[in-house]
C-alpha cells in the first residue's frame, strides 16, 4: 500500500532517527512516523482518500494541511469529523474513513437523502 503513497519521507541522514507508532486505518495496521499529524501519517502510508464528500459522495483528501479546508476530516477513536491535519498521531489510534455525513451512533454509513 505504502508503495502507492503520494508522499514519502525524504531520503537521507537525519539527526533524529524517526521513531514509529502503530495505528489502524479502516482496520488495517500501519506503522507511521511518530510526532507528525494524522494527515501526514496517512498520506505517507499510502492513504489517498480520507473521506467522501457530503453531497456527491466523491473522494476527498487533504488540501491545505493547516486546518482551513476541512477536507481531511476522518473519524479518530470513534469521534467523527476530526481535522486530521491538526491532530498529532498517537500509538494505537483507530482511524476510519469518513463517508458522507457519518452516523454518530453505530458507525453505519449513510448517504444523503
Amino acid at each position: 500500500m505504502a508503495t502507492n503513497s503520494l508522499f514519502r519521507p525524504l531520503q537521507g541522514p537525519s539527526s533524529t532517527p524517526a521513531r514509529s507508532v502503530k495505528i489502524e486505518f479502516d482496520g488495517r495496521a500501519l506503522q507511521v512516523q511518530e510526532g507528525v499529524s494524522v494527515a501526514a501519517a496517512l498520506l505517507s502510508a499510502g492513504v489517498s482518500r480520507f473521506r467522501t464528500s457530503v453531497v456527491s459522495e466523491t473522494p476527498r483528501a487533504p488540501y491545505c494541511m493547516m486546518g482551513v479546508c476541512f477536507e481531511c476530516l476522518v473519524e479518530i477513536d470513534g469521534q467523527a469529523s476530526r481535522q486530521s491535519c491538526l491532530v498529532q498521531v498517537r500509538d494505537g489510534m483507530k482511524i476510519q474513513t469518513q463517508r458522507g455525513p457519518r452516523a454518530l451512533t453505530d458507525g453505519t454509513e449513510a448517504g444523503n437523502e
Binding site: P9, L10, R60, C64
Partner: protein
C-alpha cells in the same frame, strides 16, 4: 446547567504563534505585561516557521536560511515568560476581550484587556476544474508536509500557478532531490510589463528581488520543464488526480502526475476580524479583504483589539515580525508600562524596517496577480468545496435576486459547510461582483459568526 469554565485574566492575549504573534508577545512581555498566547499547533512557528523548534539540520538546509531565521524568534519567545497554550483552537474572540477556546476536548475561556490577532494567511483558493480531487494540494500544504513531517511527493510532481511560494517550494524540492515534472506558470509576459512600473521600488528591496531571481534561475538550472503563460488549467482524473491540462501559446498541453500542487498567492485569514464585525476594505491590488487599522494595527472602532502580520494584508514573515513588535509597543503604552515617547522612539526604526520590507510588495502583487479565470471560474467549477456549490449555481442565485454572499448561504448552503466559507468566500464575492457588474466592495463578504472552529454539542454542554 452547563458552565463554561471561565479562566484567567491577562493584560494581553495573542492569537497565533507565527512571527507576528510571537513578536507581539515578546515585546509586551519585555515591558512587563502578563501575556498569554494561544495557538492551534503543538509548537510555535505558525505556518511560515512550522516545526522550526524541532527541525533537524538537514531539513534546515533543504528549507533554506529564511526558514532557519525563525529559530531566533522562537528562542526569544520561549524565554519571554509568555503563557503558551498549545493545541488551543480559539473559537470566539469577543469585542470585550473574552476568548473562548477548545483545548484537549474542553471548552475554556479567558479574558484579556487587550488582544493581538495574528492568525496569518492562507493560500488563495484556486478554483479550477478538478481542484477537489485527491492528489491536488496547495503548494503551501506541500511545504507544511515538508517542514512538519519531512515528506515530499513520491513521484515527479506538478507545480502550477504563480507566486513566490510556488518557486520557493520548487527550489526546496530541487535541493532535496525531489523530481519536478513541470512548473506550469500562469504568469505571462504582460504581467512583467505591468510589474516593470514598480521595478524601481522593487530594486530598492534588491536583496529580496535577488532572492527571487535566484529561485527562478535555480529552477531553470534544475532543468525543470517550465511553461509560462499557461491558461485553461484543468486537473484531470475521475476519483483522483492523474494530470493537468492547460494551454500555452494557443497549444493544448497535458502533463501526467498524481500530485498536483496549486498556488496563486496567499491571502489574509480574516475570520476573526470579520467575526468581530470590524470594518474591512477590498484591496484591489492584492485582491482580498483587509481590516481597517491604525498605524499600530488597532482595529477601527475596537480600541482593545489589534491585528499583526499577514492578517493585515500580505507582507511576509519579516514584515509580520515588525508589525507584531509595533502592536506590542502600543499595547504596552496603553497598559501604562511605557510612555508615548519611549513607544515612539522604539517604533521609529521598526517603521523604517517595515517600509523596507514592504517595498517589493507592489512589484510582486502586480507581477503575480492571479488570473481572473483562476479566481472567477466557469459555471461548472466547484466554488464551495464543502457543500459542492458551483460558480454556475451562484450565478443562478444572482439571477433570482441574490445580491451578496450571505444570501448564497440561504439559497444553496454555499459557505455553510465545515470550513465556514474560508475556501470559497473570496471566490463567492468575486463571482457575484462579476455577475452583477459591481465592485467586490459593494458585494461585501460573508458574515462570519462564532464558533470560528466547530465545537461539538458535548463540548458546548461541557460534558466532554
Amino acid at each position: 446547567m452547563s458552565d463554561i469554565q471561565t479562566g484567567d485574566r491577562y493584560d494581553l492575549a495573542v492569537v497565533g504563534a507565527g512571527p507576528a504573534g510571537m513578536s507581539a508577545a515578546i515585546t509586551a512581555r519585555a515591558r512587563g505585561l502578563n501575556v498569554v498566547l494561544l495557538d492551534e499547533q503543538e509548537a510555535v512557528g505558525g505556518q511560515i516557521y512550522r516545526n522550526i523548534t524541532r527541525a533537524n539540520p538537514r531539513a534546515l538546509d533543504v528549507l533554506g536560511p529564511d526558514y532557519a531565521s525563525g529559530a531566533r524568534i522562537a528562542d526569544a519567545f520561549h524565554i519571554s515568560g509568555t503563557v503558551h497554550l498549545t493545541g488551543a483552537s480559539v473559537w470566539q474572540v469577543g469585542r470585550d476581550g473574552t476568548i473562548n477556546y477548545l483545548r484537549g476536548g474542553k471548552v475554556s475561556s479567558l479574558h484579556a484587556t487587550q488582544v493581538v490577532l495574528a492568525s496569518g494567511a492562507m493560500e488563495r483558493p484556486f478554483p479550477i476544474p478538478g481542484w477537489t480531487l485527491p492528489g491536488v494540494l496547495g503548494a503551501g500544504a506541500a511545504q507544511i508536509l515538508l517542514k512538519s513531517a519531512d515528506l515530499a511527493p513520491s513521484e515527479p510532481v506538478i507545480l502550477a500557478g504563480c507566486g513566490p511560494l510556488l518557486y520557493l517550494l520548487g527550489w526546496q524540492y530541487l535541493r532535496a532531490g525531489v523530481p519536478i515534472k513541470a512548473v506550469i506558470d500562469t504568469t505571462d509576459t504582460t504581467d512583467y510589463v505591468r510589474a516593470a512600473g514598480h521595478l524601481i521600488e522593487a530594486l530598492a528591496a534588491w536583496p529580496m528581488l535577488k532572492k527571487g531571481l535566484k529561485l527562478m534561475s535555480a529552477l531553470k538550472k534544475g532543468k525543470v520543464p517550465f511553461y509560462r503563460g499557461a491558461t485553461n488549467l484543468a486537473v484531470q482524473g475521475t476519483d483522483a488526480a492523474t494530470g493537468l491540462r492547460f494551454t500555452v501559446g494557443g497549444k493544448d498541453m497535458h502533463v501526467d502526475s498524481k500530485v498536483i500542487l496549486l498556488h496563486q498567492g496567499v491571502v489574509p485569514n480574516t475570520q476573526f476580524t470579520w467575526s468581530l464585525r470590524a470594518k474591512h476594505s477590498w484591496n484591489d491590488v492584492q485582491l482580498c479583504w483587509t481590516p481597517d487599522v491604525d498605524a499600530w494595527g488597532r482595529l477601527e472602532g475596537l480600541p482593545n483589539i489589534y491585528v499583526a502580520g499577514d492578517g493585515l494584508g500580505i507582507g511576509g514573515a519579516l514584515a509580520a515580525a515588525v508589525q507584531g513588535q509595533l502592536a506590542g509597543l502600543e499595547v504596552a503604552a496603553v497598559a501604562g508600562k511605557i510612555d508615548a515617547g519611549a513607544r515612539d522612539s522604539a517604533a521609529a526604526p521598526l517603521r523604517a524596517e517595515l517600509a523596507k520590507q514592504l517595498r517589493i510588495r507592489p512589484f510582486l502583487d502586480v507581477l503575480y496577480r492571479p488570473k481572473d479565470a483562476n479566481r472567477v471560474p466557469a459555471d461548472a467549477v466547484t466554488v464551495c468545496r464543502c457543500e459542492e456549490v458551483t460558480a454556475g449555481d451562484i450565478r443562478g442565485y444572482v439571477a433570482l435576486g441574490c445580491s451578496g454572499p450571505n444570501q448564497t448561504k440561504s439559497f444553496g448552503r454555499c459557505g455553510m459547510g465545515p470550513c465556514q466559507g474560508r475556501l470559497c468566500g473570496l471566490t463567492v464575492t468575486e463571482v457575484i461582483a462579476q455577475a452583477r457588474g459591481v465592485s467586490p466592495s459593494e458585494v461585501g463578504y460573508y458574515r462570519i459568526r462564532p464558533p470560528i472552529k466547530p465545537v461539538t454539542l458535548g463540548e458546548l454542554a461541557n460534558e466532554a
